[in-house]
């Protein structure tokens, strides 16, 4: 674990991309092979399952540290990270260990099979052998919340540097459903395995936001436009005798969408589609919340299948008749896709929008919400299907968000880098003479603003509930959001999609914040 902890310290101590890549590449050249595989797995989001509940870990840590649980709980928000809090309160280790990262991962898997007393003994033993960063990392792994501030793309670049392999090819190889415990470094990175390849998706091509409108993009005839749907970006693989559905987060979600199976199996083997998963009824998508009910669960009850039937609106054809089409122009891929898919099916092409000039397209964009979309996608007809977020050929041109002016009524401190600062706020609007809370938001302001607001919160606290403080209802913020739905679970009777703070309205007194009627009026437009 020491080698891995050193890698972590090197990555954690710099914000320079070049240094991060160099540290990772050095690790990939010199670390034991099983540790390399685990590092690839961890940095591509393949986290181990949480072996022990956070509640147990807190209790054991407090007990071992000889402090009451309340004291542990009060220290946690100051540290802002559970794994770190545990590692800091524990006494220094009295034993040693030479166990490697992969050895600890095997130990974590074993923990999951033990009865609780044995599990506790094993965790206490680990805590007594690990110090500093190693203990912190062990806790991160055991709580299943491992992140290292390195994107998968950066990790892939480092791996390419270390092995001399092509970066795009590596990105492809690392996708799919492989188990780090049983996969060798050579098999994963170096040698070809046709069976494993069959379920493997391609790296997704991601768009950049178009901030200044399309005028600078050149002749409209070079571009195609389609709706930007608000669902789950997915890749459908139809190869051999099977089909697979991958989310953009490289999660295999085939089992959760049995209603797509007939249409998927009707595709000829050797087909890969990129598209958007939506809950779809008739000619229009259902709100995102309907789809959300289906993602959280492994199996889908029949009732839910009927209430939120799924559709895949295909954007692109990446493979056809077993041939990789990504290096062919979009216009060609698109034509093949439209020929292959029927428009009324559960798997159908996302319609291409006709337009003659940018002004005409801008007008279509304004109507996006009426068809249940969140804006437009613009794609260069001659463009290839590239890997990752690349500038130039794909642009997302989203609608301006909705926004209201709301009053902050509760504040809570943030986590990690923002522990000790108040960053999570609850907002309210007026209903008659009362303020009704309607959303929480925790992003959109600068660190300097959060610092200033934190100082204000400390001086204007009315009541404390653990880490949450009720504050004087005085500060007004413009809160933006992408969508709004009725909700029986929320006090205001509505739920927002992607709420965030747009700006601090220092100019506005609380009395001039928006009223609940403003939100209700948006509700009817959905």
């Amino acid at each position: 674990m020491r080698r891995f902890a050193e890698l972590f310290a090197a990555l954690d101590g710099t914000t320079r991309t070049g240094e991060k890549v160099a540290a990772l590449a050095a690790f990939f050249r010199t670390a034991p092979e099983p540790d390399r595989v685990w590092t690839i797995a961890l940095l591509s989001g393949r986290r181990p399952r949480r072996a022990i509940t956070a509640t147990r870990l807190r209790e054991w840590a407090a007990e071992r540290a000889g402090i009451p649980l309340w004291l542990f709980e009060d220290a946690y928000p100051v540290v802002g990270d559970l794994a770190e809090t545990i590692s800091l309160v524990l006494p220094p280790p009295t034993q040693d260990t030479q166990r490697s990262l992969s050895g600890w991962m095997a130990e974590l898997a074993r923990l999951g099979t033990l009865e609780e007393p044995a599990r506790k003994a094993a965790v206490l033993d680990a805590w007594d052998r690990l110090a500093g960063a190693e203990r912190f990392l062990f806790n991160k792994l055991i709580t299943g919340g491992f992140r290292m501030g390195v994107s998968q793309a950066l990790m892939t670049r480092a791996l390419a540097q270390a092995t001399g392999r092509d970066e795009a090819e590596l990105a492809h190889r690392l996708m799919g459903d492989w188990d780090p415990a049983s996969t060798g470094f050579a098999a994963l990175v170096l040698t070809q395995d046709p069976a494993a390849d069959r379920a493997r998706p391609y790296p997704f091509f991601l768009a950049h936001a178009l901030d200044d409108g399309p005028d600078a993009l050149g002749p409209p005839a070079d571009w195609m436009a389609e709706w930007k749907w608000d669902g789950i970006r997915a890749q459908l693989i139809r190869r051999g005798a099977d089909w697979h559905l991958w989310s953009r987060g490289a999660e295999l979600i085939t089992e959760r969408f049995p209603d797509l199976r007939p249409a998927a199996m009707a595709l000829p083997p050797g087909t890969v589609l990129d598209g958007e998963l939506l809950a779809w009824e008739g000619d229009a998508p259902l709100p995102f919340a309907a789809l959300q009910r289906r993602i959280g669960r492994r199996s889908v009850p029949r009732k839910l299948l009927a209430e939120a039937p799924a559709a895949l609106l295909a954007y692109d054809l990446l493979e056809w008749a077993g041939a990789d089409l990504r290096a062919r122009p979009l216009s060609e891929r698109r034509q093949l896709m439209e020929d292959a898919l029927a428009s009324g099916d559960r798997i159908r092409p996302s319609p291409a929008l006709r337009f003659d000039d940018w002004a005409g397209l801008a007008a279509r964009r304004q109507a996006a919400r009426t068809v249940g979309a969140e804006g437009l996608m613009l794609k260069r007809r001659a463009g290839l299907y590239r890997a990752g977020r690349k500038r130039g050929d794909w642009w997302k041109w989203k609608l301006d968000p909705y926004s209201v002016d709301a009053v902050m009524i509760y504040a809570q401190s943030g986590h990690g880098r923002r522990a000790n600062l108040f960053t999570d706020f609850t907002f309210a609007v007026w209903e008659g003479e009362a303020l009704v809370p309607f959303t929480k938001a925790y992003s959109g302001l600068t660190d300097a603003e959060f610092r200033e607001i934190s100082a204000w919160v400390r001086k204007h606290t009315l009541e404390r509930f653990g880490p949450v403080r009720r504050v004087v209802p005085e500060l007004v913020f413009e809160v933006a959001f992408e969508g709004i739905q009725p909700s029986s679970r929320h006090k205001a009777g509505l739920a927002l999609r992607f709420p965030r703070m747009l700006r601090w309205r220092r100019d506005k007194p609380a009395a001039e914040a928006d009223r609940i009627e403003t939100l209700r009026a948006l509700l009817s437009r959905g």
Binding site: P68, L71, A75, V79, V89, N420, D447, A455, R458
Partner: protein
């Protein structure tokens, strides 16, 4: 606070029987000062009383004010009270204030640490009935590594930065922390210093503290790779950019927490503090034998509850030294 030896007034902590205040934050006639940090030694008082070791820095920071000094351990009568100063171990010259009035003994800790930094007279426990203790780091996550170990970490880091062609810059408070590093890293002398640190260091050197030579930064780009010390505020400024490639670090108890290190935007944190850590606070309080403890600046709510559970009669003293749970304004 009860009508006791000390009580809280808008000006600060006041001793009625003696007619003086301790580290008052608004102007008073007569102030007893524990040490020279800005939140303890404020301008505008009629008369100041501190240790002879603290006086030069006070004079340097406050200008031409009326300062009387009192040696550690010697008692003097002020009004109807006996007052004496005792080593607090925080920074050179820092003191705890013992006040005896009508048979009751109160001690105000000021800021303190139990670690011996090699430069400051070490903390001495003073028996008392009532102890007013700071608790800047009053949570069990704050425990300090040995100073030797941290100095070794710093040396290795300085060497690595120099090998990469970067200038290592450590943010350290200009009174106390900076001199502790200058003395503890004597083998790296002359360490280069920001003007604010150089000025305070010169004052302390002149009063006889064993401080190795330092070198004020005049040409930032010269001597790339040599260690530079700067006050925390200088790290976010244009001053730093003139050095070319740098490696940044902070030396503070707050560096124990990864989130705070990242928020301060330094690449490396060295856990070295002039305040007591959790075991230190508990040991210091126990050693006073006090039954009543007032806690001030730091995690007062949590620490008070903890002390109460340990059997103390514990209270919070709402001073203006630093905010409740804010670490921003207070040096670590």
């Amino acid at each position: 606070m009860r009508a006791d030896v000390l009580s809280l007034t808008p000006q600060g902590l006041r001793c009625e029987a003696g007619g003086f205040h301790i580290d008052p934050w608004r102007p008073v006639a007569r102030a007893v000062i524990t040490h020279g940090h800005a939140d303890h030694a404020r301008p505008g008082h009629g008369a100041y009383l501190c240790t002879p070791e603290a006086a030069p820095v006070l004079r340097h920071r406050l200008g031409d004010v009326r300062i009387e000094t009192l040696e550690y351990g010697l008692a003097t009568g002020i009004g109807a009270t006996r007052v004496s100063l005792h080593p607090a171990g925080h920074v050179p010259g820092s003191a705890q204030v013992r006040v005896e009035s009508q048979g009751a003994v109160w001690v105000v800790s000021g800021d303190y640490k139990l670690q011996d930094d090699g430069l400051t007279a070490p903390f001495e426990p003073v028996r008392c009935d009532t102890f007013v203790s700071e608790c800047t780091f009053g949570l069990p996550v704050f425990t300090w590594p040995a100073q030797q170990a941290v100095m070794a970490e710093i040396r290795a880091w300085v060497e690595a930065a120099a090998a990469e062609g970067r200038t290592p810059v450590i943010a350290a408070y200009s009174l106390g922390k900076a001199q502790r590093l200058i003395a503890g890293l004597a083998d790296l002398a002359p360490i280069r210093t920001h003007g604010a640190i150089e000025a305070t260091t010169a004052v302390m050197r002149a009063q006889g503290l064993p401080l190795p030579p330092t070198e004020p930064v005049t040409d930032p780009k010269a001597q790339r790779g040599r260690l530079v010390l700067a006050p925390p505020a200088a790290l976010g400024s244009g001053w730093l950019r003139r050095f070319g490639p740098v490696a940044t670090a902070s030396a503070s108890g707050w560096m124990r927490l990864r989130g705070i290190r990242r928020r301060r935007g330094v690449e490396r944190g060295f856990v070295i503090s002039d305040h007591a850590d959790w075991p230190g606070l508990n040991a210091a309080i126990a050693a006073t034998g006090a039954g009543t403890v007032f806690v001030t600046h730091g995690y007062t709510g949590v620490f008070r509850r903890w002390l109460e559970a340990q059997g103390y009669d514990a209270h919070i003293l709402a001073t203006e030294f630093a905010d409740d749970d804010a670490e921003e304004e207070h040096d670590g």
